[in-house]
Symmetry: C2
Subunit: 400 residues, 2 copies
């Protein structure tokens, strides 16, 4: 997938419109081109981005010096002209460190500029009710361990991105509300290691970005819906996350489905989460909450348990009603079901798609199922750092 | 209001990232600066946009030659240095021609680069059920009359933008569905005069753009809701319209409010339009449809007609439920009520805001009332042409 050449930097900052800015953008174009299509010779890069070979050589030399590109040695003979050296994105150099604070686990990984996961660490254990200090202390340990392992492989951390199950302010540091951790107004920037550039975001946002960057044919306009304990949503428009004024966009879980329905933790009534959240589905099926809620539901549904299947049909109907409103407002190309919803999709989709078909302008918006599943948020976090390097290589050059 | 310097052209096209593209962008920066803050001397423009005075002079000379800027004569004496000539946006030169096909009227206007309405023409009469050929024939006559009047004032038409009460495809020509005109799949590009660059868009979209460009302190992120026969909605994010994959984004009227509610023309049930559309409110108040529905409702409500007030409260509740979903998904800074809703706001707002307060994350999204009212779509259409000229002056230079 080739990135749009004029894509804004993920931080929302645009490179300045000067000669210097143009050089930085051209460095990014070289990186994106080699990343998407490499290995490539200098001449091939030049022809793809429409610059002279001399201009590209200068840019490439700078990227090699900074450890972002590497030369694979002379191209195979038999070609016309002087043999060039094939360029590839470096498997050493900068790495993105992704982390996830889940309700029941902590995870950290290091992804290199090629997109390969090079180090990974997970710790299971309930985080709900633990103090933010205790959780971030354990996460910091895990991050340092992953960074040390990555450094042994010749990588250096370009930044840390942390996925959390809650609303994050636009400062990309503050967890405004994470009801399933019982965290409110926590500044993770003050609690996590200061040595790396830090970005904190909602796990549904990172899941959607992972879908955009790593998904199989995911379009540039889609609505991503996932579920763990709550329902997470994220809106991608023209290949960019819709963040909203406060950073809260995509809160599909609190769209009213039946306005006089059951009370919700948010203070509203009849929100989607009251019909399609994991606990609501368990309740509707007459089951007690367990650790692996999704495993239980999927297992029983696969074993033809009619109460579970009926509960999942009901959840699909509620999802279809909420998604009808969302599709009318946003007109996405597809709706992508991720996380736990991906695993439960066989039993949710018939009623969900039925509602969408009945209620929206034909042809109804397509619904697809993510192949990343619960890995999405962690991968999206790590890749957001990698994308930041590809989008502005000049910002990290010389930092190694 | 200063436009963001790197704003994409309204057509979605970005200027190319070359020397030539940089020159074009700098021409746009000069135009936007003089437009927002003029009259200004060349030196003042140079200091505001961070270019040398020599570079700005070259750009300004080109804009004067093309009739986009004019010199007001020497600045008042008493300043240090050689007296400069103050620059202003030209009141001659290019004009934006805006047009509106309403259910009950046709309107056309010409707006100059300063934003002043210079010519205006309206014809009343029902368009519902008339053939597209007949309506566009009459509109073409009206456009030619307005253009002739504008030309007598030294203006020339830079383009024609037409607002229609229906869904428009992303080709900005084809009316996919305008139920209140009974039009389906009509290519207005083939029916309207070919001599002017043409843009067709949904009236709610143009209404939202008018609010963005001409409103009083309207933020860059808002949801615009208007009503005539149907309910129109438009979403503005970072100062740009959210269009959606098919061009259908913002369809608030068909968000389900009560999923088992009355059948809707869209095929769904319990859509917002079934509770807050003009005909629905008349029905709820026990009134027969008349020509001036909004006038009737506003008059009776002001005269303390309890049935009408109750019907409007119900409409406000339904709007509040639908807007709760929209605010959760999009997280706008404000919701702006425009068109007929602006006039009915005193009786809609209490129940509407009550629902929003109860159902959304505090602090609840602010709701404001548009001061443009029913003029919005026509003004937005004309100004969209004017903004196109300001955003890329090089594209019209020499066309006069």
């Amino acid at each position: 997938m080739t990135a749009p050449l004029h894509e804004a930097h993920p931080s929302g900052r645009r490179l300045p419109d000067t000669q210097q800015g143009m050089r930085r953008r051209n460095l990014a174009r070289v990186m994106h081109t080699v990343s998407a299509e490499g290995p490539l010779s200098r001449a091939a890069v030049a022809s793809r981005i429409g610059l002279t070979r001399a201009a590209v050589s200068t840019l490439v030399d700078e990227l090699i010096r900074s450890g972002l590109l590497e030369e694979l040695g002379p191209e195979r003979p038999g070609r016309v002209g002087r043999p060039g050296s094939a360029l590839a994105v470096s498997g050493r150099g900068p790495a993105g460190i992704g982390a996830e604070i889940g309700v029941g686990h902590l995870a950290v990984c290091a992804v290199d500029l090629r997109g390969d996961i090079r180090v990974r660490a997970v710790r299971h254990g309930a985080n709900r009710g633990r103090s933010p200090e205790s959780v971030t202390g354990e996460l910091t340990e895990l991050v340092r361990q992953v960074v040390a392992d990555a450094e042994r492989e010749g990588l250096w951390p370009a930044g840390l991105a942390v996925a959390v199950p809650g609303l994050v302010a636009r400062d990309a540091r503050t967890v405004v509300r994470a009801p399933n951790l019982d965290w409110h107004g926590i500044d993770l920037g003050a609690l996590l290691p200061g040595e790396l550039p830090l970005t904190v975001d909602n796990e549904a946002n990172f899941g959607a970005l992972a879908e955009l960057w790593l998904g199989d044919g995911t379009p540039q306009d889609f609505l991503h819906v996932s579920a763990e304990i709550g329902i997470g949503g994220a809106v991608v428009v023209d290949g960019r996350l819709l963040r909203g004024t406060r950073g809260f966009a995509g809160e599909l879980g609190h769209v009213p489905v039946r306005p006089e329905g059951p009370e919700c933790v948010c203070g509203g009534r009849g929100c989607l989460e009251q019909y399609a959240g994991e606990d609501a589905v368990l309740r509707a099926a007459g089951l007690e909450p367990v650790e692996d809620r999704v495993g239980l539901l999927a297992g029983r549904a696969a074993a033809d348990d009619e109460a579970v299947r009926r509960a999942l049909r009901g959840a699909g109907t509620a999802l279809g009603i909420a998604l009808t409103g969302a599709v009318n407002l946003i007109d996405p190309e597809t709706v992508v079901l991720g996380g736990a919803l991906a695993r439960l999709a066989p039993w949710l989709l018939p009623s969900l798609e039925g509602e969408l078909r009945r209620r929206t302008t034909r042809p109804a918006c397509a619904v697809t199922v993510s192949r990343l599943g619960p890995e999405g948020p962690l991968l999206g976090a790590a890749h957001s750092v990698v994308r930041g390097v590809l989008d502005d290589p000049a910002a990290v050059a010389g930092r190694s």
